[in-house]
Amino acid sequence: MLVNQFLFLAALLFCIGVYGVIARKNAVLVLMSIELILNAVNLNFVAFALRSGNADGHTFALYIIAIAAAEVGVGLALVLLIFRNRKTISLDDLSEMKG
């Protein structure tokens, strides 16, 4: 197996996630795209861990999984709060901070 085949897969997943963050309006779908991005990063870490043969990449990937879980929890709580106040989770309608 090449190192690059995993890195290219991760890069492709990352770019699809970036497209999702840009293109989506629904806040829950934006959070899903962020999960795609975080998974791409994890794949890179594990591939490099196998390449270098030590456990640092695995440790970092575990920490990223934990951070991602916390991020989804807080993110969905925020989305829920926005929905309760505004009756919509369309990110285009949240423009109060526009200067």
């Binding site: 970036v18 497209y19 309006k25 629904n26």
Partner: protein, 164 residues
């Protein structure tokens, strides 16, 4: 060696199709279910990369916990179950050139840096014991910080989502 490459190709194809469906489907619940496919594919790739502990954690945390959170979020925000045409921005097309240019830049950098370098086939495998030695050894301070982050996230989520 060949079998691993065939396995990689099949799983990668499934993951890419799933990821594309996540960002293009017009149904929030379908997007969540396609995301399960991508996350399970990532777990399979971890197995292929000899990271069995991470693969199990991926299944437990992502497919078990995070997906349930997503489905609850979909339910509680009363997104339309079924087709919904209002999921994309008006400037959604702008994302395609951004993603293509980003991928081109990364592909160029990767093929220049790693070329056709092979992964070691007889290298030392990382055991779960080594991972725990890392977490409770040199990476203990980040582990503490992480537990505080999780605690703050749990309390914050309750405070934010609570009806008062």
């Amino acid at each position: 060696m060949v079998a691993q490459n065939i396995g990689f190709a099949i799983i990668a194809a499934i993951m890419i199709v799933g990821a594309l469906r996540v960002v293009t489907t017009s149904n929030v619940v379908h997007a969540a279910l396609w995301l399960v496919v991508v996350l399970a594919g990532a777990a399979a790739q971890y197995i292929l990369l000899a990271a069995e502990f991470l693969a199990i954690t991926q299944v437990l945390v992502y497919i078990g916990a995070v997906m349930v959170l997503f489905l609850f979020g979909t339910m509680l925000t009363r997104s339309r179950i079924g087709r919904d045409s209002g999921l994309n921005n008006s400037y959604a097309k702008l994302g395609i050139p951004v993603a293509v240019v980003l991928f081109a830049a990364m592909a160029l950098a990767l093929s220049k840096s790693f070329g056709t370098e092979e992964l070691p086939t007889n290298g030392s495998l990382v055991s779960t014991q080594q991972i725990s030695d890392q977490i409770f050894g040199p990476y203990l301070l980040p582990f503490w910080a992480l537990s505080f982050v999780l605690l703050a996230a749990v309390i914050g989520a309750i405070v934010l989502a609570r009806k008062d």
